[in-house]
Symmetry: C2
Subunit: 248 residues, 2 copies
Amino acid sequence: MEFTSAKVSCPECRLADLCLPYGLHINEVKQLAGIIKNKRPLAPDEYLYLQGDECQSLYVVKSGSFRSFIAHIDGSEQTMGFYLPGELMGLDSFQYGRFTCSSIALETGSVCDIPLSRLNELCSKIPGLQIQMMRILGKEIADDHEKIVLLGHRSAKEKIVTFLLMLSQRYGALGFSTTEFNLSMRRQDIANFLGLTIETVSRQLAELSKQGIITVKQRGIQINDLNLLKAIIEHCATQSLVAESVLS
Amino acid sequence: MEFTSAKVSCPECRLADLCLPYGLHINEVKQLAGIIKNKRPLAPDEYLYLQGDECQSLYVVKSGSFRSFIAHIDGSEQTMGFYLPGELMGLDSFQYGRFTCSSIALETGSVCDIPLSRLNELCSKIPGLQIQMMRILGKEIADDHEKIVLLGHRSAKEKIVTFLLMLSQRYGALGFSTTEFNLSMRRQDIANFLGLTIETVSRQLAELSKQGIITVKQRGIQINDLNLLKAIIEHCATQSLVAESVLS
DNA sequence: CGTAGTTTTGATGTCAGTCAAAATGTGTGG
DNA sequence: CCACACATTTTGACTGACATCAAAACTACG
């Protein structure tokens, strides 16, 4: 997914508001841009980093998309997440300073390389950056909790629908269509991510397609009725802010 | 679970090394202790905080144990985690400043109340505390990833065994027996946490018991053969540091 | 004791996994 | 541009693990 040139720096980057610079003053953004190293483009199936590697940098997707996964000694693997432009990779390494996942490019792409040592320096100089880091870590945790709920308590159909809606929403945030997009991952990756088999993914997509709710053309997805799709998982919505009145 | 008096302050607290003060100098620990408010004990089934509430403090379990969960509009809920002494609750709120889970006491317990505003001040003064916060957030993320793998790719038996081993390990870290402990949560909570039904939990425990690997007496669990238990899930171990030699 | 809550046990049903093969797509070299 | 090989996706038939439904056994607490 092409979005912004590999050479663009933070102050001019269209992704800035979705990324680390959000909420910073322009001169602070410039300081941040000063520590960022642009990496040469990655080819499809090229590793960005390997599970177990020492983490010296965080990476933000600039263009393309990535898949992170954990490998097990028996050869099996679990896909932990997909990353679109503006999203930060490597936060899983903060506990011991080593990546707990591997990250691999799903298509040709590029990333911003943010050296951790210099990011830490900058965080102690710029309070707003510190706060933004905390927010991003909080978002990572909240997103992971959503995945836990998804995997623990949803049917195959609900998993697929949630997956499509998650992508739709993220593409929308990037300014793309929320109803028409191409999947950059294989069915196998989707299945593994959702704790399903490829056959089940295929069948569920076929069924949604037969009902006319979506149109599937290989990797191409078109959502014909967004509300109908949301209705399938509406009962899953969290109680959130209505909680007070119910529980107290 | 009784561990340390509700009134003990950080420098004297037996949990210090498992908690925020880890790695700090003694005078830094004293500063930290200065901002902590001790809360009155909580009764079983008493809420510590509610999903949607504004998060003004983080909480560390001092004694007892807690369960966090997300409620859905259809009345169902998902248990997100269990918290033992020394463990930090509330990190899920960092994105928007509101709790995404509710937290409830499983038994009589007490917590340390750490006001966020004062913690932030202290973090900018004490670099080591800042680093420790990052490590704790990293651990939260890594732990959540483990849960994602557990829920996405494990059989009922593997889920139960992993659950028991996780508890065993955490009790061990607290200085308690790794082979004999009481579950503070109901079967329903375990089932919900693991994405299973109580009947399945009951049957799996019964089977492990029949095989002589564990002994179950209501809430009391005794692990008779820790290695046999670990063997059931050994193939799940992550490749981790051997990854380099395999993949490169 | 007696009632309510929790856990266990048993019988049956179903959703998603497994196995197998066909269909479709993708890339490479002639 | 086509032909062939290989990878990916779809479809179908069958199986099995876990859920569901139902009832009994156990525990706790007034």
